[in-house]
Assembly symmetry: D2
Homo-oligomer: 399 residues x 4
């Protein structure tokens, strides 16, 4: 969002304006679909007038029954068991795609064919080829497109980018990113989409793609990669408690070294088997003049080190990201300590997309960003040829 527009929005927040209404069709009423619904519902009530009033008009699920339940639960007027109906409706301006990853392509291609703008969950495609096709189709159709890499929209992350862009930490030298959680550690967790490459599962492909997107957002384009992966549990029960097992086709854990075009060095770690980590999306960035550090588990804080602080006072500033920072005036400008959580990242995401759509301004991350993330993950998970063996002499027998 441009500073100009943000300022205007906040100043104009008298409730007097009558913003345009946009119909939203939600495809997928599960966990992340619900997050979108909550965000769309509370967006107009935040402390800034939205560029447009989003109205959830229909939800699609796998069956009419599931769709009906989702509609009731999410307070949406219409429901359908056929997602095609959503993209065909005249009263739907924007389609929100919250389906399993492997369905993204078909839904997105149909939506853009019908001239709908699209908010699509990440990863955009199951591979770069799919994603490139979606990007090109959306561009050809002239619709607006957005890929839901919502962690760019954590206020502290956007603030980190602001500091980097302003040159406060100088040229970036190192990006150290991680996304760790532990939900997959237990071998009795059954096979699911996260264990299938065809559904864009895996540690690097799923959570790792968020880190790759932040690396690009914060540091710049990536020119080369080397990586390593591990699968700790090669076979898992087909369902909870089942004695039938299937093969796991993805990594439980992966790491990448990244070379950025601007010369910076990156390290990305992703794991779904890290006990004690819940949503540990974190990064440290070192530049020639300072450093920034972030951890989603304390998402309202950005730690900033500036070498030009007076010598005795140098130390990471633990900045409470709030009213004075990006998106700060939108939530509770009266109290800098109230904080935001995951939901607010989805609120901001919609705020950015709808604002760009109404005002005809550019917006990112779009499908191109989704495509590039797919490119990098494809390379990282398919090429791992860089190992050099360690061949030390043995310890002497006497010891």
């Amino acid at each position: 969002m441009t500073a100009r527009r943000e300022k205007a929005a906040v100043e104009a927040n008298t409730g007097a304006a009558e913003p345009r209404r946009l119909g939203i069709g939600l495809i997928g009423g599960g966990f992340i679909g619900r997050a979108h619904a909550i965000a769309l519902r509370s967006l107009p009530l935040q402390a800034f007038p939205p560029a447009a009033l989003p109205e959830l008009r229909v939800v699609a699920e796998a069956t009419p029954e599931l769709a009906g339940q989702a509609a009731r639960r999410l307070d949406i007027p219409d429901a359908t068991g056929r997602w095609e109906e959503v993209v065909e409706r005249d009263d739907v301006d924007v389609v929100a795609v919250a389906t399993p990853n492997s369905m993204h392509r078909d839904v997105v291609l149909a939506a853009v064919e019908h001239g709908k703008h699209v908010m699509c969950e990440k990863p955009l495609g199951v591979d770069a080829k799919e994603a490139l096709g979606m990007y090109r189709a959306a561009e050809a159709a002239g619709v607006r497109h957005y890929v839901a890499f919502n962690y760019r929209r954590v206020p502290a992350v956007t603030f980190a980018r602001q500091l980097i862009t302003e040159g406060r930490i100088g040229a970036v030298h190192a990006f150290r990113g991680k996304y760790l959680y532990g939900g997959n550690t237990d071998p009795s967790v059954p096979l699911g989409w996260r264990h299938r490459r065809s559904e864009a599962g895996g540690a690097l492909g799923d959570v790792g793609s968020h880190v790759v997107d932040l690396a690009r957002f914060l540091v710049g384009e990536i020119s080369e990669v080397t990586s390593a992966t591990r699968t700790w549990t090669p076979r898992r029960p087909l369902s909870p408690g089942s004695t039938e097992y299937g093969d796991v086709g993805t990594d439980d854990e992966g790491a990448m070294l990244l070379g950025f075009r601007n010369g910076a060095l990156g390290v990305v770690q992703a794991s779904t088997c890290a006990p004690g980590r819940y949503n540990n999306l974190s990064f440290e960035i070192n530049g020639e003049l300072g450093s920034v550090e972030f951890d989603f588990e304390r998402m309202n804080e950005l730690r900033v080190y500036l070498s030009d602080d007076p010598r005795q006072l140098q130390g990471f500033h633990t900045v409470r990201v709030a009213g004075a920072h990006p998106y700060g005036p939108f939530f509770y400008p009266e109290n800098d300590g109230f904080g935001v959580a995951f939901t607010e990242t989805k609120v901001i995401e919609w705020h950015e997309f709808l604002g760009a759509l109404v005002h005809g301004e550019p917006v990112q991350p779009d499908f191109y960003d989704g495509y590039v993330a797919n490119c990098i993950i494809d390379r990282a998970t398919s090429h791992q040829s860089g190992w050099v063996p360690i061949e030390e002499e043995p310890r002497e027998a006497s010891r």
Copy 2:
């Protein structure tokens, strides 16, 4: 909420039920009124079926113009410049009181007279006498009443209470609570309600009352108090930038020692002039078998120390309060790292109140709790006779 009811609610979350609809009338469309509106709007979409579907039907503000703006901003169908209309409406079942503190009494008394259930912001009264009258009137009218000490509803705080109630830290010895923020530090901040005793301002009276409520919630009833206060800026401009000044009638900073009926010792600190603190509501509780520690600025964590951990592993557990904890299944049970923020405390508050109302179950904090908090603050701010002078001999001249 009873465990039985919570379990039933989560299990029943199929979207098939058709819960009762309750009309809500909001009086006061400012900062905290907006928080209630957002909470009421997103409550039905959380991962549990609400006991009732709240519907915001009318908002009152000081003038018809302000009311109209609030209605548009908060997406509420009706607006009025006379709050009396809200309490008189047949389609209003529950009145939410988000007015300046000094108006609480009149609004509440009128609401209960009309048989409305009432959610009232804290502090309930400007003093204990007022609060007692409100409590007795609500009881006499047979309506349900709730005072918005929302910090009880931080999941980590409710979990702390669970641990204490279960005896996990044994008998409580010490309660060390604080609520510090820095918004009042700058002497150019103009006079406002926070600087007037008649509007329940002051550090102890405003933010301190939250700590007192948590002390009672977590440790038990308080039998005695001693206290001290300071006013750092005795006169403030009447408005921003004004050269006219008025007297500050309240404390900028206060501290209390508390004696609990069960013998525990409490220390409460409150400040509106603590640079670097934003919403630092925090406490440490030491018991005979362990300790718990909480800080709202990291509200998704509870730190727990248990003396019965194996000797080498003793240390505060930094528990990420989420799916396995109170209210955990309500938000994003799929991801323990997504967290909650201030808004969710208001969601839970309404969830508790509406659930109790529909099911005829008891609920706290109610007006009685509001009254007791007022009692303690009254005593703490009016009696400060406990000082003993220090009269040391002077240092020898030679040094």
Copy 3:
């Protein structure tokens, strides 16, 4: 230490100088006596030339056998079962008093009578009357005296004082200090000196006295106090596992409100029964322009908040106290991350005392500071009349 002298010392650190040798006599070879011995032994090897080379010449213990063991363990040439011999020896210039608290007076009075300079452990006296006598005797004898409130000498604490003295946080408004540990929580811990008032035990009197000293060091003189104490375990076994019990005569837990002469408000909490705390000497100080925060459990860090930081960058700086800070050049100036621990506070303490002695400069904390701490603790533990009862109306029966 003056900046001038410190600079000279560091510059002169070529090893060429031949500093004066001072004979030290240690009375008490237990835990804290050993700490003094280690400090005296390593002081000359630090990265600065000491003003004097201390030489431990004799140690006294309760019996000749214990003294001999201590001498061997601490590598001290002579040993004696009569402490009087130490204060009489011609080759002893400075007496280090590390006896039980109740012996401090007799040892100190004898030492100063023989013209010895004295380093005495805290608390100086078991009460203010004793301490005043010791202070006056030392002054009358013209010897140098130092009371081992070693936490003033934590580099981060000295740095905090520097910032306050320089006005970096403006006038001090609030001092919030604590010293919590858990070693006394278990009721089977047997009776010891910490449980006897005549030996200056108790939470306020023992660990609390350190906080009071820091309050004076950092904020200024104290003019009034109110307090409350608790004894959780009124009777304890006479020895480990014993079935014979004796009365505990001291507090396990205490809290004080302090009024400073400069108007600041202080809160001091002390506990020997805080599970999970080990040596949690910590404080937060709020001033009109900023705040500082310290916790001995992370003693190499000072957290500093400055209101004049740019708005977006405001946040506590976690300063690694090292080479650029007080005493920083003394330890490992080559690496700011190596840190110091408890031992180094005793090294600095001796460095300060011996430097002042050799150069004839003033030094603090001296016996006067010890006396004032005793005054405040005396008042806090003997007068607790400030309580105001809370007498709320009961909850209505219907609930």
Copy 4:
């Protein structure tokens, strides 16, 4: 140290034993030589009787003048400008090698030829070939040898290893290690040994070697590596402020992916250009049943997560490593909060080495461990062939 021997030592701590005296010759009186001297001086005074009483008898420096200064500063009786004299002296049992890295080989080979036991600073050799020669020579001579990877001896690190060895976190899956500091960030820092490959400089080679050693200590042998490095400042002034510049021959920053023989995946990051980091040697280890986390900047803490904690209490335990942990009884067993710092790691290192020497027990890290670290660093800094290019399609022109 074996548990049996440790127990015996502590029990026997009566001061009555008369341990064997061992002569130590120190070669190199700079920064790290001084650390050894302080450690040797305070070792006998710790709360356990040393297996042997070390006596520093001679120090060698580059010239007789420097040696004399070092001797006075470090309180060592003899000094020499020829290191060869140290290894030839009959009263020297153990040679401590604290010279520039490039001298290690010559000094060590001479020392073992004269039958001296050797404590050598890290890295053992400037490359694996050198180190292998030193190892084989020491073994052939039958002397004891130790390489000063002192971070193994941080009590929290030794405790981490104990937990892993006991199986408390199950099979190790991931090792995430870092050693970051910022001392080299400023381009005006002049050329020094850290910038010359022939002196074992560079981020990976210098600080990175500590992480590699901990990886082996904590997880096991390493079978393969891939890596990437960067040099941010390719030319530096020859001396402070000089206008003459020389080429930097080493990396300022490096990262490695490690494959362990047991299947675990490792990531190692090393930087000398990380603003805000001082001695940030840190690691996180994830196993199938738990995790451990350590940061030298808070070296008295180990964070431990155990999946078998009760569900609601799961969370990292912040364990204060002290009396109940490895080496805990050695320092201040009376107070678990007093902590240790860098110096104590050198005390423990000597304690381990002298104990093994006197008792004829094995000890690690020895020269073999030094050699293996050299092997891995050699490979990591010389082979970097694993990169895969990212070749994404360009963004469409329209955007």
